[in-house]
């Protein structure tokens, strides 16, 4: 029996800046994990990943990452994705700064 599908977000890095981005329901890209589209259907996930992968002029390395619903929107499941969503732990650089701004 195949494994049950778990919810996902589409994530990638921005081509110009290299920072972490997420695909929204509106077909735009956001820096904020909680604003990403939470995909709960496997077939839909494939379509969304294909859509993201075709935007070669804007994004690099799109993939599906596990996510779960939270009070403010999707939240990362794995700690790697949590770090990607937050920024490095040794300096307040990257997303942590953006989040405060």
């Amino acid at each position: 029996m195949s494994r049950r599908f778990t919810p996902k977000v589409v994530t990638a890095n921005d081509l110009l800046l290299g920072d972490v981005i997420y695909l929204t329901e509106q077909d735009t890209w956001t820096r904020d994990h909680s604003k990403a589209e939470l995909i709960e259907d496997e077939a839909h996930a494939d379509i969304r990943l294909l859509f993201a992968s075709q935007q070669a002029g804007a994004v690099v390395g799109a993939y599906l990452a596990d996510a779960k619903p939270g009070p403010k929107g999707p939240e990362p499941v794995h700690f790697r994705e949590a770090f990607r969503a937050r920024g490095p732990s040794n300096y307040a650089h990257g997303k942590q700064v953006d989040a405060r701004a």
Partner: protein, 559 residues
């Protein structure tokens, strides 16, 4: 210090222009990411977790003040005001933007630097003893040979598509400070019975998922045979190395699977073929290179100022005892500047700090700087009479931490705070261990102890050769840290042994503390180092300190 000739300068400028064009074509859609990726990697540009990362080579770790100031300028102009010095004598910028990279490379070319072959399956930055040209125990300066190898390997048409990356390290002293036993090729300068300089050549060393200690493939290779012999090794590896499996593609696997003797036969066979092609041009080039590495004119001056400060200032004395090393010229010392202030990120220097170090090199250090694989900066030639002032200036800029070779002088890879390959964080573990050691105030009592941390199995943090090695892994979605003990990265290279089950993120610092306290309890005197004590008593007491009774009943925890 090697200065680019016209050929070098034109070559590097040309590569910058090519890469500028490649970036433009990526941005206008003419190149796909799959097409662009190998091109950017050839120029040291990675895409990491949060941003691009530009890895700049510092050949054999040697810099002058102009180069260091330019690194500071680049950090401020295009990055976030700092740089990260790595275990391969490179500097990494963690936050560059793709449209700026060509300008950064251009700025590097302005001072004779580049990022070529800092990635990809090529011969990487050749690393060397960071005390080269200064150490009292040195047989010969390894840097001219390292520069010869750099020139030979840069854009070498036969070796641009090796089975895997290839790392060469060279030391000029019996005391191996370049970890030559853990490189694809390790070169150790020796003298033969006739008093001639040559190289003991090791092959097939490496860390990563299959750690192996390099094996001596030839006891003595003459200076004239160096390049053809190294080329013969590369050539044999290129022909016989595996390409079916990335994890079996390093030369250590080739040597291991073929057997050293069989591999040696292949190298010798190839060497016999190509040696006649080396008709002496390489030796002419070497002679020209050697003129760039002539010793500075040493100053003959009294050292009373040093002695007086040493006698009266305990902070200076502590720093002098840990951070100075014996220099070959009378009245001089080698200064190691620690980039390991307690709680700071190992290997990071701000642009301001880089400029301070550049100024010190220019004023007091014959304009020379070195980067060590241990992620510190060296002023290789400082007259002792200048040391009190040098120390005062370092102190004012957070650069006078007196911990070289001590437990808080930790090597740590960027780990999952930056690296896309990492499976766990390493920087905050290093920060927390150093902070804890500082709070306990025991590291001077503990003495020589090398802690090395890697955030994944690729072992950029050299954990296998740490006296205490820490490897961060992902265990079922949680960070988990394995400990190894007894590793050694010197001429007596040894791979550390795993203690047992790993520790959670919040358990790893107390675990390291227990190991250190156990050592203090069991050492037979203050003179017995951690490594000596471990070799005497073995794993058992440390295992007991780590796991106590819990080990007996909880094998289930085994990672």
């Amino acid at each position: 210090m090697y200065r680019y000739d016209e050929f070098d300068a034109a070559f590097v400028r040309n590569r910058v222009a090519q890469f500028r064009n490649q970036v433009d074509r990526r941005l206008d859609g003419s190149l796909t990411e799959d097409e662009f990726k190998p091109l950017r990697l050839m120029n040291g540009l990675y895409l990491q977790l949060h941003a691009y990362m530009l890895r700049v080579a510092i050949p054999y770790g040697t810099l002058d003040s102009a180069k260091m100031r330019q690194l500071a300028y680049i950090a401020e102009r295009w990055d976030k005001g700092y740089g990260h010095f790595t275990t391969r004598q490179n500097i990494q910028y963690n936050w560059p933007k793709l449209p700026d990279i060509a300008d950064m490379l251009e700025a590097l070319a302005d001072v004779g630097m580049h990022a070529i072959q800092t990635s990809g399956n090529t011969v990487r930055n050749v690393t060397a003893d960071h005390f080269a040209g200064a150490a009292e125990d040195e047989i010969a300066d390894p840097r001219p040979y390292a520069e010869l190898l750099r020139q030979w390997s840069t854009d070498h048409p036969e070796f641009q598509f090796l089975g895997r990356k290839f790392k060469i390290a060279i030391t000029g002293s019996d005391n191996d400070r370049a970890v030559t036993g853990a490189h694809d090729i390790g070169l150790r300068i020796v003298r033969n019975d006739a008093g001639e300089i040559g190289f003991t050549v090791l092959v097939g060393g490496g860390l990563g998922r299959t750690p192996m200690v390099g094996k001596v493939i030839r006891e003595f290779v003459s200076v004239g045979d160096l390049l053809p012999y190294v080329e013969a090794i590369l050539s044999a590896y290129n022909s016989y190395g595996r390409r079916d499996n990335k994890y079996k593609a390093r030369i250590k696997i080739t040597v291991h699977e073929e057997g050293l003797d069989t591999f040696r036969d292949k190298v010798e066979e190839r060497f016999a073929e190509i040696r006649p092609q080396f008709t002496g041009v390489d030796q002419e080039v070497l002679s020209a290179i050697e003129t760039h590495f002539a010793s500075p004119k040493w100053r003959d001056a009294p050292v009373d100022a040093f002695d007086a400060t040493y006698g009266t200032d305990p902070v200076f004395r502590s720093w002098a005892d840990t951070n100075l090393s014996a220099h070959r010229a009378p009245g001089y010392a080698i200064v190691s500047i620690s980039l390991k202030a307690h709680g700071a990120t190992p290997g990071d220097a701000s642009a301001d700090q880089m400029r301070v170090m550049a100024d010190l090199a220019e004023r007091f250090g014959h304009d020379e700087l070195r980067i060590s694989h241990e992620q510190n900066v060296i002023l290789p030639h400082v007259h002792k009479s200048d040391l009190p002032l040098v120390h005062t200036i370092l102190k004012a800029h957070g650069l006078a931490t007196a911990n070289i070779g001590l437990a808080s002088d930790i090597i740590a890879c960027p780990g999952m705070d930056y690296c896309a390959l990492a499976t766990a964080r390493s920087i905050p573990v290093a920060q927390d261990i150093a902070t804890r050691l500082d709070a306990l105030k025991i590291e001077h009592e503990v003495g020589a102890l090398k802690i090395k941390i890697s955030g994944c199995i690729n072992a950029c943090g050299h954990h296998h050769v740490g006296h205490i090695g820490i490897l961060g892994l992902d265990r079922a979605g949680v960070e988990n840290y394995q400990i190894t003990l007894g590793g050694d990265g010197t001429e007596t290279t040894e791979i550390g042994t795993r203690t047992g089950p790993g520790f959670a993120y919040d358990e790893i610092v107390p675990a390291v503390e227990r190991i250190i306290l156990a050592y203090l309890d069991l050492r037979d005197s203050e003179d017995e180092t951690f490594l000596e004590a471990y070799r005497r008593v073995g794993m058992a007491p440390f295992k007991n300190a780590l796991y106590g009774d819990s080990l007996k009943g909880s094998q289930a925890r085994a990672a």
